[in-house]
């Protein structure tokens, strides 16, 4: 499993300062361990939608397949976000229909980055970094930044307003989650 790291930044929610973080282009065992020991008790406690997710099981299935790639974001010695993407899916927007894109299968931020938790440092920007990573991979793959995903209901605003992705509406085959896709132009704008 390859693992390149990139220096990125997150914003400390309390101080407002940008803090150096590491983006890994592969989920490593320590990230899965972190998810299990530090994230899961908090998500289970609050019965969050993400509480259903079991990254260990997902990664055991996805890791051997070339179609999937993964990312993990680390800061302050903790895993702050995880993402698995699929590189063989195709676009739905008419102007780029049937062209390849990077499809975000799963993206999750650590529980303390979703809501304040006493004793845990909250960081802002996990979503922006992960979307930038998906766009960069799409560019590297020759897909010009095209990406797509099904957003959890509470994240629709982020993808529509903050990222500028096109909202293609609820997808009946995906539990009516809204499907969002990013055009090449919007991807270029996002990365500037």
């Amino acid at each position: 499993m390859s693992d390149s790291t990139s220096v990125v930044y997150l914003r400390n929610s309390e101080s407002g300062a940008l803090v150096e973080a590491e983006l890994h282009d592969s989920i490593l065992q320590r990230h899965l361990d972190d998810q299990l020991s530090k994230w899961k008790p908090l998500t289970t406690e609050h019965a969050e939608e993400h509480g259903h997710w079991d990254w260990q099981a997902k990664w055991a299935f996805f890791a051997p397949q070339l179609s999937y790639q993964s990312f993990a974001l680390e800061c302050n010695g903790r895993t702050q976000g995880l993402m698995i993407v699929n590189t063989i899916k195709r676009c739905r927007i008419q102007q780029q229909a049937n062209k390849h894109l990077v499809y975000v299968e799963y993206l999750e931020a650590a529980p303390w980055n979703r809501r304040p938790i006493p004793g845990e440092t909250q960081y802002k920007g996990v979503g922006q970094v992960m979307i930038a990573a998906a766009i960069q991979l799409s560019i590297d793959e020759g897909n010009h930044g095209r990406i797509g995903l099904h957003s959890l209901p509470q994240a629709n605003t982020f993808y529509r307003d903050k990222c500028g992705m096109t909202d293609l509406g609820p997808d009946a085959s995906y539990q009516n989650l809204r499907y969002f896709e990013m055009t090449e132009a919007k991807a270029t704008a996002f990365m500037q």
Binding site: Y9, E49, W53, Q56, A60, F61, L107
Partner: protein, 164 residues
Amino acid sequence: MTLELNKEWFDKRIHQDEEYEVGAGCPGLEAIQQTSECGQAEREDEEFAETFAFGTLIRFLRRDRRLKIEQLAANARVEVAELVKIELDPNYVPQPRSVHQLAAYFDLPQRALLKLSNVTMVHSTQLRDAAYRFAANASQISELSREERAAMTEFVEFLGSQDS
């Protein structure tokens, strides 16, 4: 892949007062089956490791004995369609009878296999951890490698120790 963005990009993009949820992906598990549809997720994700390990174990044992699905179905007296679902669908909960038949055919511990297949709702952390380790070592290639056979043997031995 490396991401080369300067610090100003992050300063511009990430605001202190923003309150965004960013989760994406189907809360269910059907997407894992590469069908591009997540459909109805009826079962908890946590059960996935066990059923995935169960299906993988059956597939490994079948391949190890160089049997086609139809041959195993006939030998173990299990429906072909049921066997295909067991091997391929990590969300599928098999019929208890099929688990018994397969356990008898492969000489596997019945009770541990029933737990693994999620027919019974009794789970243990040890079983789940062992299922993870086994599933993580399972690749998709047709011939069982030495590592896969070792993982399979270790897992079967573990199941034997859990058969109570």
